[in-house]
């Protein structure tokens, strides 16, 4: 093998150089460029966001503990406020669907949604009827149904029902606290696993220990986090509640009980915009370096437009969806998201990123 192959190296390299010079190959970011990109995203985007989530969910856990000790309106308000902070932080990192958040199916446990069959309601009711004290340990929640251990279950407990149901350190209140503590535990584990293991796996792509063969492969996970949520936001968070023009369905919207459906989408879009162009080694810059400034401009403009459009949407959807102007606004936003989706997919071709083959177009 050695003898036969060695005279061919100059030919190989020469051919590669020729192809590159003649532009037969698409210019694509180098491994070093991807490495820098991934490094910036991990340290400036991903880890800080998970850290925020860990902090706010820890505060939520202690706030629900206080609520159970003193179940008055002030403590309920405080717990609701803490829920909002946690949900803000979750919505700001919901788009990251790879890495430690996948361990133990944390992403599904954190927020099982949409819940078209009311799994959450059914499972929660079973717990509330049985009032089994064994279920009041976070350890028990690891084995519990996906429906009862996340933010939507907590939302139901905190935003529906009466204050007096939380009285006397009731099972309902303690369950609320247990779920909050479970969310806090998982959020803390997610950020620490990123810090201790996963960021090294990303940054040392290509090494034996890494889950990734090269930096470009690691970038694919990041790019999925940028591209795939766009369609999901449009389909699940906007078009499903809009249903058809004749009859809107506000209860299909995300977090309608806590009246924050609009805020969720606002945070999602701002977060994606930050992923796209929020740091010095961003995708936006990579596109410009590939000579695709026009493409980068279009994507930037669409993000800006979407951020502005979302600011003007009034909530909560439970009432605002019945106003024709909200419907028109959301239709415009849906169209802009569709355009953004197309532009981002085109950008992936420019960057020579294949988001998925069998997973996206299998048979």
């Amino acid at each position: 093998m050695k003898q036969a192959s060695s005279p061919l190296w100059p030919t190989l390299l020469g051919a590669a150089a020729l192809l590159t010079l003649s532009g037969v190959l698409h210019a694509a970011p180098s491994e070093l460029q991807w490495k820098n990109h991934n490094q910036s995203l991990v340290s400036e985007h991903i880890i800080p966001r998970y850290q925020h989530l860990a902090d706010s969910s820890a505060a939520l856990a202690s706030s629900t503990a206080q609520l159970c000790q003193q179940p008055d309106q002030a403590h309920l308000d405080a717990a609701q406020q803490a829920f909002h902070h946690t949900m803000d932080d979750w919505q700001s990192v919901q788009h990251i669907q790879f890495g430690p958040i996948e361990n133990l199916m944390r992403n599904f446990s954190m927020q099982f949604w949409p819940d078209k069959k009311n799994l959450i309601g059914k499972q929660l009711n079973i717990l509330l009827e049985q009032q089994n004290p064994d279920t009041l340990e976070t350890a028990a929640l690891y084995k519990a149904s996906i429906g009862v251990k996340g933010l939507p279950a907590l939302e139901r407990l905190l935003f529906t029902g009466q204050l007096d149901e939380l009285d006397n350190n009731s099972y309902r209140c303690q369950l609320t606290h247990t779920i909050a503590a479970y969310i806090a535990e998982n959020s803390a584990a997610t950020v620490s696993e990123w810090q201790q293991e996963y960021s090294a796996s990303v940054l040392q792509a290509g090494s034996e220990e890494s889950y990734y063969d090269d930096h470009q492969e690691a970038a694919v996970s990041m790019m999925k986090s940028l591209v795939e949520p766009v369609e999901a936001i449009r389909d699940q968070k906007i078009l499903r509640p809009l249903a058809d023009a004749e009859k809107v369905r506000p209860r299909r919207s995300e977090s309608w009980r806590s009246e924050r459906s609009v805020r969720n989408i606002q945070l999602n879009i701002v977060s994606l915009q930050n992923l796209y162009s929020g740091n010095e080694n961003s995708v936006d810059l990579l596109l410009r370096q590939q000579g695709a400034a026009a493409q980068a401009d279009k994507i930037s403009a669409l993000f800006n437009e979407l951020v502005t459009q979302m600011k003007n949407v009034s909530g909560p959807f439970t009432t605002s969806l019945y106003q024709p102007e909200t419907v028109v606004q959301l239709q415009q936003i849906s169209a802009a998201l569709k355009q953004l989706d197309q532009e981002l997919n085109a950008a992936m071709q420019t960057l020579d990123i294949q988001l998925g083959f069998n997973s996206r177009d299998g048979d």
């Binding site: 036969a4 192959s5 590669a16 199916m105 099982f112 492969e217 998925g356 997973s359």
Partner: protein, 374 residues
């Protein structure tokens, strides 16, 4: 020495990117194709969007690179000759028969007028027939068609599959029994890959006699599970069939995605533990038994995972991550599989030792749905 050399070779190929498909790699590497042992064959899509059938060695070298006229799906190895049948993905109309030792296309079979293939064809166990699943477009009924290899692949039998959208078919070892997965999904070539009957679909598993076309049995899923498309199957020496399902409903329902069939028994649905079943995202891509026929692997490319099952005990065993992993084939070792992925990576996993190895590779290509040991 050899190891160092090979690694350097990979690095250089990496910098050359498209070269493997431009030049015969066997010549590049100074290897005589006939002397290296092939390991597997699979259809793939290259970086410039062309489709190939590759035959790969144990060391990840390209032994044969055949340019396909379009996207393919399944590749089947002949039981005794160095022939491969690579079938167009639905609703494609070609099957390329190649000889990887002679490095040539032996025959390009085209579907008859009014017909298309569903991505799968197999050689009969005795090596005489090529058997396909086909769509009779005017009636939308599935067909199982037998072609004679000795007679230039002339059609010698054309049986009903007893369902819509037949997909994978397998022959049960030491028998003349074919097992056919009728996916149940109605499509029409003029509507592309659009699914036209999701509300009324009725998938089934059918066992047919290869020699007569007689239907030996047909098993359906319970009514409430009728949206679980039966698409990919494998069978073992004991006559049991493992089934990888694709759910056409809302994945929040978290339906079972694996089933097992014993002759003349109803289908048994199997569910992985909730978090894993949910992570499979309602979609399995391939099913393969191991060499012993006791264990099976089921790929879930949308969930980036491969699940492993003890079929004898009807039990989930374990799962591993494989990003965009879909193609599966058994090695000669018990409980061991090769997994190919759309990312280009191939893994070898042994259920009993729990070890996963990355296979060496000289080529970055998107491996398509199925692979075959050769």
């Amino acid at each position: 020495m050899m190891e160092t050399n090979r690694r350097r070779f990979c690095q250089l190929l990496g910098s050359a990117l498209v070269l493997p498909s431009l030049l015969p790699v066997s010549a590049l590497a100074g290897i005589d194709a006939a002397t290296i042992k092939p390991l597997f064959a699979s259809a793939a899509k290259d970086r410039s969007g062309d489709y190939h059938l590759y035959v790969m060695s144990e060391l990840g070298e390209v032994i044969f690179d055949h340019l396909l006229p379009g996207r393919a799906h399944h590749t089947e190895a002949h039981p005794t000759q160095s022939l491969l049948a690579c079938t167009a993905r639905r609703p494609g109309r070609f099957i390329d028969i190649i000889d990887y030792q002679q490095q040539r296309l032996v025959k390009r079979i085209l579907a008859d007028d009014g017909r298309h293939f569903f991505g799968h064809s197999i050689f009969s166990e005795d090596g005489r027939w090529l058997i396909t699943t086909e769509n009779d477009i005017s009636t939308a009924q599935g067909r199982v068609v037998v072609r004679s290899m000795a007679d230039d692949y002339r059609v010698i039998a054309d049986y009903p599959s007893h369902g819509i959208g037949p997909h994978e078919l397998v022959q049960q070892p030491n028998s003349s029994v074919l097992v056919v997965a009728n996916g149940g999904i109605l499509t029409r070539p003029d509507r592309g890959r659009e699914k036209l009957n999701l509300d009324s679909m009725q998938p089934s598993l059918v066992r047919l006699d290869l020699n007569t076309g007689e239907r030996l049995e047909q098993q359906m899923l319970p009514t409430e599970q009728h949206q679980l498309s039966i698409r990919h199957i494998d069978t073992n020496r004991q006559g049991s069939t493992v089934i990888a399902l694709q759910y056409q409903g809302d994945i929040g329902h978290n339906p079972p995605l694996v089933a097992v069939h014993q002759p003349h028994q109803p289908l048994q649905l199997l569910q992985a533990p909730e978090p894993i079943n949910m992570a499979m995202k309602g979609y399995c891509g391939s099913a393969r038994y191991d060499h012993s026929g006791r264990f099976a692997a089921i790929s879930a490319p949308r969930g980036d995972l491969i699940s492993f099952w003890d079929i004898q005990e009807q039990q989930f065993i374990s799962s591993i991550k494989s990003r965009d992993g879909c193609g599966l084939t058994a090695t000669a070792n018990t409980a061991e599989f090769i997994i190919s992925a759309g990312t280009g990576r191939c893994l070898k996993h042994n259920i009993q030792t729990g070890k996963t190895q990355r296979m060496p590779q000289t080529l970055k290509t998107a491996w398509d749905n199925h692979l075959a040991t050769v």
